[in-house]
């Protein structure tokens, strides 16, 4: 099986039904994407598949063959943080930060698809990402800052 992850081609042998998250984490050692619930309900595993957000914990790896997968590790370009990461860094939004990768990937997709998203649209779109530490107001602030910095 051949996978394109973060612009790199990976060849590996794995049961096609195995979820993308496990392949990323355990086979490619891209552990930035997190396991939170295993049913696509918390967003900690969010990655981009052809620039669209996907819950990698419920996505069979076979579903991304021939597509471009981007994980949190792929956001930096030439050692420079992505604008969304920069905004989160400046906001110091998170506490335990276990949700951070998924939140940042969801926000990246949101701003790519809808750069001028209203506050209401941001809140609705981000509702699939759980931050159990409850930092939502700071996450919102960071996303708005990323909007301005684009």
């Amino acid at each position: 099986m051949i996978l394109n992850v973060n612009g790199e081609r990976h060849e590996l042998t794995v049961d096609p039904e195995v979820e993308l998250l496990t392949v990323l984490r355990d086979y490619l050692h891209l552990t930035g994407s997190k396991y939170g619930c295993g049913e696509g309900a918390c967003g900690a595993c969010t990655v981009l598949v052809n620039d669209q957000p996907a819950r990698s914990c419920v996505t069979p790896v076979s579903a991304v063959i021939g597509k471009d997968v981007t994980t949190i590790e792929g956001l930096e370009k030439n050692g420079e943080l992505h604008a969304v990461q920069k905004a989160f860094l400046a906001t110091d939004a998170f506490q335990c930060s276990y949700c951070a990768s998924g939140v940042i990937m969801s926000a990246t997709a949101l701003l790519k698809n809808n750069p001028a998203a209203s506050e209401d649209e941001i809140i609705k779109t981000m509702n699939g990402n759980v931050c159990r530490c409850g930092t939502y107001p700071y996450i919102l602030k960071a996303i708005k800052m990323a909007q301005l910095n684009k």
Binding site: V14, G32, E39, F88, Q95, Y98, G134
Partner: protein, 714 residues
């Protein structure tokens, strides 16, 4: 199935709040202590009077090799680097940052020079655990003192070197400077070639909060970039050479007993069967899953276990006698007499459901055996507690078990126990390879422990003048924290009665205060309503503690408590004093004609003494408020017959973006007061403030948590 899962959680909330006693148990000997600390200047915090050591050459051999009890230490290396060793752990509360700020402040160095070694049982002194908001008041205070001792010692060393008095010297940016002739020398140069071991001096002068330059300021989370780039390695991210992936067979319900098991073995998989514990370790997750599916087990399940529908009757009828620890409550005066003379009486019962912590990183552990020594990396709030559990299970001495806690994906009081560590260690022992075990969300929901459910009966009297002549407050099962009232009440009987909990229960953010403050503050508002007194005025009238009054009034002012209300809207207020922090909370709700309830805004004032890091403090307060919304409005564990029916994030509802109202946090920076912990107190006022706002809007008193699981009044 691991039998340990069935026993009640060994650390009852109230007991786990008592680290000072427990911390005295573990001791180390001086030689190993010196070996562990290495060269340079080491200032350690000890319980015993150890000044005798400071006069000794540390290299001198001692026949007695005295035992010392050390709580934390700071080492100033010959390169000028400052290392702090503490058994506290980072689970998102940002103490790695705040404790670094404290040490940097006292030693007058940039924060970047300070590094924290946390939660590694081989390297750090014993610590009972990270809970009960103890880190800041306990460890923070000690580190202030220890770093101040080090600063004074460095000045004394420079004075000796330059043959001058200490009065002419000062410290700045990692240097000792002579004010007279501008001579300077770095800390590293001063300590070079020396191995100095000294205890904290009680006389060391800590810097007053009003003079802080590094503490008291917002600085960013240490290592923040590693978290937002996905590079930080949580335990669940670890990978070691040859590492296997573990899975454990779970019983279908609590108290189930394994009758028979048929294991169809898969090549390359390690199997462990030890009583009811059956686990596998495989080279990859898919193989581990296949191996689990090929295990067919028959269980005897115990019928007739209570459910969330009859739990309150159960807890009430299964209660035992009064609890005998420090949270047992108190009795003063004569409640019956007070009630009989009151102008009005009010009796209510408050019911509290079990809820789950839901740390987003579930329990995880990597275990490795090497030459008879067990090393486990695991996300726990009690590294030494988990070390003890492993010592007990594997019958090992302390020096043969090392537990390390990398910065972990949260806990909220829910990660005190070492289940995953034990399971991974059992598998790794058999496999003779490192084994990683990460609990699934369903396992975390089912086999960890819960915030206790409970029943609280309150019967109180109130007079027309606003005095409270009687207060009877009996808590069944939910725990003793926050039991005591801060209001002036002469006749009172307050008690906590444990019950036979059908679910494993343990610590939670704020512990039982989430339940006790809810019942108390609901009842206070209802008493005020009986006599048509403003609920804020009623509280203030019955309080003596000005800090408590201050937070209530600060919240009310920012909220515009006396301002106009829209139709269908209600205002509620509640206050709490918990873990050294004072919180005042105001809430506005809107109740529509079809009885939908919407929380419009929350204003919370918080005083936890001198603020160390304003942004991180506000973030903690925010997190507590948001988490408090869940327990207030909709979080509840659904269970019956020993099964959890909503053991997933699609069925157990936690607060999300759309649940968050407008939240304003007012921080009162009391530089004249010692800093208290901030992780817990802010959760306690949220539920009662919302409930009191609903009463204000509708007259409907919701005396149960959660209040509106379906989003509306029923």
């Amino acid at each position: 199935m691991d039998k340990r899962s069935y026993t009640p959680h060994p650390f009852e909330p109230t007991k786990s709040e008592l680290p000072p006693e427990a911390a005295r148990h573990t001791k180390t000997n001086r030689r190993s202590f010196l070996k562990r600390t290495g060269g340079g200047l080491v200032v350690f915090f000890a319980f015993n009077d150890l000044f005798s050591y400071s006069n000794e050459s540390p290299a001198a051999s001692t026949t007695a090799d005295p035992v010392i009890g050390v709580d934390a230490w700071i080492r100033i290396g010959q390169d000028g680097k400052i290392t702090v060793y503490t058994g506290k752990v980072e689970v998102g509360q940002n103490i790695r940052t705040s404790l670094s700020q404290i040490v940097a402040e006292e030693l007058m160095v940039p924060v970047s020079v300070v590094s924290m070694i946390m939660g590694d049982t081989d390297l750090v002194p014993y610590d009972a655990g990270t809970f009960g908001s103890r880190t800041t008041p306990q460890m923070g205070t000690q580190l202030h003192k220890a770093a101040a001792t080090a600063r004074e010692a460095l000045i004394a060393m420079a004075a000796k070197k330059w043959n001058t008095g200490t009065a002419d010297l000062k410290t700045e940016n990692g240097m000792v400077l002579s004010k007279r002739d501008n001579k300077k020398i770095s800390y590293g140069e001063l300590t070079r070639g020396n191995q100095l071991l000294m205890p904290v001096s009680e006389k060391a002068k800590v810097i007053a909060a009003t003079d802080w330059k590094i503490a008291g300021k917002t600085i960013a989370k240490i290592n923040e970039q590693s978290f937002i780039t996905g590079k930080h390695e949580y335990v669940s991210d670890m990978k070691m050479p040859g590492m296997l992936y573990g899975k454990v067979l779970r019983a279908p319900s609590y108290k189930a007993k394994l009758l028979e098991v048929n294991i169809l073995k898969i090549p390359g998989v390690t199997y462990v069967q030890d009583g009811d514990f059956i686990g596998v370790a495989a080279p990859d997750i898919p193989t581990a899953r296949k191996a689990m599916q090929a295990i067919k087990a028959k269980w005897h399940e115990e019928a007739g276990q209570p459910s969330d529908k009859n739990i309150f009757d159960w807890l009430f009828t299964h209660a035992s006698g009064p609890h005998d620890d420090r949270n047992a409550g108190d009795t003063q005066g004569n409640v019956e007499n007070g009630l009989s003379h009151a102008d009005f009486k009010l009796a209510s019962t408050y019911n509290i459901q079990y809820i789950a912590h839901v740390p987003l990183e579930p329990r995880a552990a990597v275990a490795q055996w090497e030459d008879g020594k067990l090393t486990v990396w695991t996300g726990t709030q009690r590294p030494f507690g988990v070390q003890q559990e492993l010592m007990d299970v594997f019958n090992l001495p302390k020096e043969k078990v090392r537990v390390l806690v990398p910065d972990t994906g949260s806990g909220y009081g829910g990660k005190h126990s070492g289940e995953a560590a034990i399971e991974a260690a059992k598998l790794a022992k058999e496999a003779k390879k490192p084994v990683k075990l990460v609990w699934t969300r369903e396992e975390e929901f089912t086999w960890a422990y819960f915030r206790p459910g409970g029943v609280i009966e309150v019967n109180a009297g109130v007079n027309k003048d606003g005095s409270i002549p009687a207060w009877k407050f009996i808590n069944y099962n939910s725990g003793g924290a926050g039991l005591e009232t801060q209001y002036k009440i002469s006749n009172r009987r307050i008690a906590y009665l444990p019950s036979d909990t059908p679910l494993k229960q343990g610590s939670y953010r704020g512990l039982a205060a989430t339940a006790n403050v809810f019942a108390r503050e609901c009842h206070m508002t209802d008493l005020a309503r009986l006599i048509h007194m403003d609920p804020l005025e009623f509280r203030v009238k019955n309080l003596e503690d000005t800090r408590f009054i201050d937070v209530l009034q600060a919240a009310a002012k920012a909220f515009n408590w006396t301002g106009p209300k829209s139709n269908g809207h209600g205002y509620g207020i509640a206050g709490g004093f918990e873990k050294g922090g004072y919180v005042g909370c105001c809430a506005e709700v809107m109740v529509t004609n079809n009885k939908e309830v919407k929380v419009i805004r929350i204003v919370q004032a918080f005083d936890c003494g001198a603020i160390i890091n304003p942004h991180h403090l506000e973030n903690q307060a925010m997190g507590s408020i948001v988490q408090g919304l869940g327990g207030a409005l909709f979080e509840a564990i659904e269970f019956a017959d020993g099964k959890i029916h909503n053991a997933g994030l699609s069925s157990y509802r936690v607060p999300r973006f759309t649940d968050v109202p407008a939240i304003e946090i007012v921080l009162l920076d009391r530089k004249d007061k010692p800093s208290a912990g901030a992780g817990e107190a802010c959760i306690v006022g949220v539920a009662p403030a919302i409930r009191n706002a609903i009463v204000d809007a509708t007259g409907v008193a919701l005396n149960h948590l959660p209040m509106i699981p379906a989003g509306r009044l029923i």
